[in-house]
Amino acid sequence: MLTRRQTLQRMTAAAALTVSPAGLRIAFGAVPTDKRLVIVLLRGGMDGLAAVAPYGEARYRRQRGDLALPGPGQAGGVIDLDGQFGLHPALAPLHALYGRGELAVAHAVGIPYRDRSHFDAQNVLENGTALPHSTADGWMNRAIAAMTNGDVPIGLAVGANVPLIMRGDARYTTYAPQVLPVAGADFLARLETMYRQDPVLAKTLAEAMQSKAMKADVLGDSANMGRGQGGGAYFREAFGAAGKLLADRNGPRVAVLDTDGWDTHAFQGASAGALSVQLGNLAGGLIQLQDGLGAAWRDSVIVVVTEFGRTAAINGTKGTDHGTGSVALLLGGAVNGGRVVTPWPGIDTRHLFEGRDLAPATDIRAVLKGVLRDHLGIAEGILEDRVFPGSRAASGMPGLIRA
């Protein structure tokens, strides 16, 4: 007999628009490039100071308090990159890539938008402009149009729906993983807040969560226990499938992978905890992606981005609130890596944006334009006029791609 969760998953899978890999193939000879580009969207605002910690900075421990990670070599400590920055221990699987020069870290990056709304910030990240509601299409779609005239579906959107970044006139395909993100601990916590006004629903939800936790205890069923673990299966499946589809000689070339679960307002943990689990899921997913790409890895660039970072200081509920600057990761055989790329603004309070957030020292569009120009061969002028209109000040960053 099926469990409720299996039924739910089958049902939602049937409902989603699944596309068989065969349906994603493109006519022989029509693919304009062998290069692959994957954008991984981390929705919710990832804490860049946790993912890549400036542990070498004097203010680090005082600023982060309980969220500060131990130093390199200590239990649960950061994994050193360059004496100044260290990877969160949950990202350890990526460290070997850094050593091989296949991982670059762009730190203190941000979108050209300074308010702290998720929706508006995600719109800006995806529409490629400085304003939340300026365009109905996404920059990735416009980049594809620049490469193909829009009639060859080299774009691939992986996730339950097509994100704004891929929407537009240029053709693309979609792939919906069988496993969709479930209602995790974080989501349930938000519900508890809403249900304060409704005692009957509040009581029923409390009972449901208690029974859910109890089942997880008894069965050791970590998949039942909320966002982190619940997301793990999604990460593995979505990233693995994307890699395989992109590896196909006549398959898609430019993909977006959608994830959420990064909005860590409370009890985010340091070496262990909710954010650590989610970072582990991400690292696992990226390795799956690498495996799936196989030989195509050497022609690949994966850029991991989020809409904004979080406050430098810990908040009253042992989490962090919406911030500004964060980190972007660039991975792949085509990346000129093994380095942290940043005009580091520092995290002393007087250097923070509005006295609270890591300052956005680099426009994320400079990073993205550098990749699109040097990896996919889209001319700087086209990038400025069509892909990221109004971004002249943020010219494409040189040297991100292996020569």
Binding site: T7, G44, A183
Partner: protein, 443 residues
Amino acid sequence: MATEQAYIAATRFGYGPRPGDLETIGRDPVGWLRAQVGDLSVPSELRGLDGSAPLLAETIRQQSSAQGFGAYLKDVARPILTHEVGRRTVAAVASDVPFRERLVHFWSNHFTVSAKRPQIVAAVGAFEREAIRPNIFGTFADLLVAVSQHPVMLMYLDNQFSFGPNSVASQQRDIGLNENLAREILELHTLGVGSGYTQDDVIALAKLITGWGVIRPGNNQDGTPGKFLFRSVGHEPGAKILLGKTYRRGGVREGEDALRDLAAHPATARFVATKLARHFLADEPTAGTIARLARVYSDTGGDLRALSLALIDSPEPWDDPLSKFKTPNDLIISSLRALNISTLPDKAVIGALGLLNQFPFTAPSPAGWSDRTADWLGPEALMTRIEWLRAVSNRAPMPNPVDWAEAIIGPVLSDDTRITVAQAQSRSEAVALVFASPEFQRK
């Protein structure tokens, strides 16, 4: 502009607003509801579906062939049921007259036929379209007769082989009376349990409707196989006494007379008033509310149109919004309306209805589905709702979830919900939070 009255009209009486509906309903929510009363147009989603007669005839043929009935059920009958349920649900999702659709579903539930009975699996949807839908704005008596003579009801509650003990047919063969339909007519459809009828009354009504059956294919019977048939040779002869009244007319008419008398009974007025009030007005309607609706029923000779209008004129929904909890069927239809998804493949709808345990036409008993909060709101059920809503929200993120929330539950939106939604970490999570909010779970 979106008023609380418009929200109540859309949600308590209809199946919830689509984006823009609250504006359309505007300042005249009562007018919007009244205009739906009397509208018997057939939704386009329901056109081209098979009638019950050929479906039942085929089922009977398959059943008497004795071999492969299981395969027939699985490969033919169940897919027809699934298709019917999908069409019915999408019709409600796309409807511009959702109060009318809700009334169809209410009466269909009052006169439950359930596919738990294999013989009627293929035809339960047709039953609703043929016996319920055309009759919801006529008299209760006409609806009762139409339902009680419909072959699907006769087969569901075993009347098709109920023969008078003294009938010609019983003299020839060892067959006799079946009380099932008669008992449920008294208990569930008209007077209500505990209203004073006796076992003798059950037997009397059963005798009055003996011989009410279905034309079986290949039996040299006149007429279309699968249609209603009155078998006079199976009808109990002689006088019958039901609730103190003697029926001597004989034939099919005396059963119809009995049903019309039941429809006119004050206990039926109270029972029907109570069920309507519980569905539309309050889980536990007051005695005053029930008496008021029962009076409308009695004064108008059980005119369902007048009763529908009386519901709109009742103060309870307008004074006490959000006091009822959505059933799974409500929840699914209203969330799909909110997302403006009216072309959803049947399969997805079907999955949700089954997952949340209210698959139409499969009620566990002839009593139908409950309209009480306590029967739907439990920890496991709530968690399943939340997970389904989270999954469906992944498929339809809104460009601006805060504006969308205003368009769906704006007039009753609380600060807690507004803030929680505004702080959601993604558009799809915001949509899920709106769906999970008390304002959306209630009606």
